[in-house]
Amino acid sequence: MGQQFVQHLVELKRHWALVSALAGRELKGRYRGSLLGFLWTFLNPLLLLLVYALVFSVYFRVQMANYAVFMFTGLLPWIFFSQALMEGTGSITDAGSLVTKVLFPQQVLPAVKVTANLVNYILSLPILLGFLWLSGVSLKWTLLAFPLVAAAHVLFTFALTLLLCAFNVFMRDTRHILANLLTLWFFLTPILYPLSQVPEKYRMLVYLNPAAVFTLAYQDLFFWGRWPRWELLGVLVLLSLVLLFVAVTVFEHYKEYFAEKI
């Protein structure tokens, strides 16, 4: 079983050229034919920021310094997470003839969605940094922790996507359930509100939420200028590895039936 796990990852690495080619196509294809083209990669988060800033700073008047940019810090990673999950969950079922008519390394498909959305996320970071700077939030050395936090974040996202895309082949409800769960999950994660707003006795529950762990870490290193809580990140990585192991096992066990089920 452990061998299978390693083999799956080795295969994925072997097909890295294919993953990057397909992810590149995904990114380019997203805005193909539109007038502004790739500019949308930057425009989308920018416009989103403006919408949230309008609602929460002007209408809602949240009493918190630099609230808009605080919220934006947590929102960008969430968009990556939820988009990758949503698209990744349908990646096998939507692939059509790639699965049913040619011999194709299927584990590449969810990886493509995660990669494409990761690239999108990274490309939106300059906008975040620009806004942090504009809002007068001083950027600190803690930014150096970004690759580590992002790695834990990606690992968790990838593991969950891999598991759900296999589920979705056999139960098409998965995607729809996920869409609704993500909305709930979004509000349970301290993105729109700082952790301090959560009553003391419920804080423990927040830490049990993997999405909260990476969200808080990002907020720490970008917004608060402090080092993230390593012990929580460590637990997230461990949890992600266990999840990945389960996901690979399920995926490998069922992948030979994918072609018949689609």
């Binding site: 050229a17 294919l18 080619a21 397909l22 196509r25 380019k28 294809g29 193909r32 034919g33 692939a95 003839s97 790639l98 049913t100 008519k101 040619v102 011999l103 194709f104 056999f170 139960m171 098409r172 409800d173 359930i177 030979e256 039936y257 072609a259 018949e260 089920k261």
Partner: protein
């Protein structure tokens, strides 16, 4: 597996779960209740059962069979898309499958970009594709459109591009599923050339097709799949003949059951003094048939019953095409038989020694009438039959003939 064997299949079995649309996919409930339980046996359809195959290097194998006989499933298992439920499958070397051409093409991307991706999907490295790009484009004949988005391509162009990538992958084993039929004349010649080129260079090919002409042209060996089992295997001519006979026989059964249903279409008139009780079409061996090979014997039998004594009685038949063209008609009076002393009940037989007609569907009229033409019982479309032929000559009648060529 011997040195020279490239494809080896032993005891291959494959079944699919019978899926009903209402319960197409499992539900969360069933997942919770019985997450890993095996599905019950009656839910399965066996598609392949105990198939054994061996193909030596450089040989071309054709797989023939009726729709649903498991041909495509076999090919998909060879390609590694489906996993066998029983038995073993081994294929040596790089496989290129022409099962679906242009799988994974993205409509918004140009032909060139899609070649790049499609090549990667088929297992080429970036460098290999770049090296072959010009050749692939030239081979597809789409130089003028290669930078246009694929969504603007006609279906023929799409297939040509897909084919061009697939055959330039330089496979050791080529799996072809009925793709040669698409595309225009020039393209199908190109396909034929390519297949011949593959054969010359010693590649192993496995071909699934309904085009018997192609089978005869390319195959070294033919496997006929019937209901998931190998019905016959061997030298092309022999297997094709066996297959054709089986198809004709099946068609015969269907046609006869339809004849029975088509009772209404008949037009029947006459005063009923003599009634035609039954009409049978028989082959040379005397068994009832509705499909005949061109040039084989045909016997028409009519059972009659006299309601009123008369000796003024003529029997006749006429053969029409489906377009109501009269091919042949005759009767006992025209042929000056002048039969008398008819029994109360009896049977009239007309034996045609050679049914020299071209392939097609024909209708038979039968009649019993008086010499002056007054009908006792006249049945149009009393029966129908089909003529099958391995030649594609046209018209109605095939006079026995031969061609000769003389110098000077």
């Amino acid at each position: 597996m011997s040195e020279n064997t490239v494809i080896e299949v032993s005891g291959l079995g494959k079944r699919f779960r019978r899926e009903m649309l209402s319960r197409d996919y499992g539900t969360w409930k069933s997942l919770v209740i019985r997450p890993f339980t095996q599905k019950r046996k009656r839910d399965y359809i066996t598609v392949l059962d105990g198939v054994n195959l061996e193909v030596a290097r450089g040989r071309t194998l054709a797989v023939i069979g009726q729709n649903g006989s498991g041909k495509s499933t076999l090919l998909k298992i060879l390609a590694g898309i489906y996993k066998p439920d029983q038995g073993r499958v081994q294929v040596k070397g790089r496989i290129s499958s022409l099962i679906e051409l242009g799988a994974g093409f993205h409509p918004e991307f140009s032909g060139r970009e899609n070649v790049m991706i499609n090549g990667t999907i088929l297992g080429l490295s970036k460098r290999e594709i770049t090296e072959r790009m010009d050749h692939i484009i030239a081979y597809s004949g789409l130089e003028d459109f290669i930078d246009a988005p694929v969504r603007t391509y006609s279906s023929g162009m799409y297939v040509r591009l897909g084919f061009s990538v697939a055959v330039n992958v330089d496979p050791d084993v080529l799996l072809v599923d009925e793709v040669l039929a698409v595309g225009d004349e020039a393209f199908s010649h190109k396909c034929e050339d390519k297949i011949n080129q593959f054969r010359r260079s010693g590649k192993t090919i496995c071909l699934v097709t309904h085009d018997m002409g192609a089978v005869e042209k390319f195959a070294d060996e033919v496997v006929w799949l019937d209901g998931g089992c190998i019905a016959a295997r061997g030298e092309p001519r022999r297997v094709i003949d066996a297959y054709r006979q089986k198809v004709a026989k099946d068609e015969d059964t269907i046609r006869r059951s339809q004849c029975a249903e088509d009772e209404l279409e008949k037009d029947r008139w006459g005063d009923g003094d003599v009634l035609i009780k039954a009409v049978r079409l028989l082959d040379g061996a005397g068994s009832e048939r509705a499909v005949f090979q061109s040039g084989s014997p045909l016997v028409v039998e009519m059972d009659f019953a006299r309601q009123r004594p008369t000796d003024d009685l003529v029997f006749g038949i006429a053969i029409h095409t489906a377009q109501e063209v009269l091919c042949y008609g005759t009767n006992t009076h025209l042929e000056k038989l002048n039969w008398t002393d008819f029994p109360e009940k009896g049977t009239v037989r007309l034996s045609i020694e050679r049914l020299d007609m071209v392939q097609g569907s024909y209708f038979l009229d039968v009649a019993a009438h008086a010499k002056d033409g007054r009908a006792y019982d006249y049945i149009t479309r009393a029966s129908s039959f089909a003529v099958r032929s391995s030649l594609a000559d046209v018209g109605v009648f095939r006079p026995p003939h031969k061609w000769e060529l003389k110098a000077g």
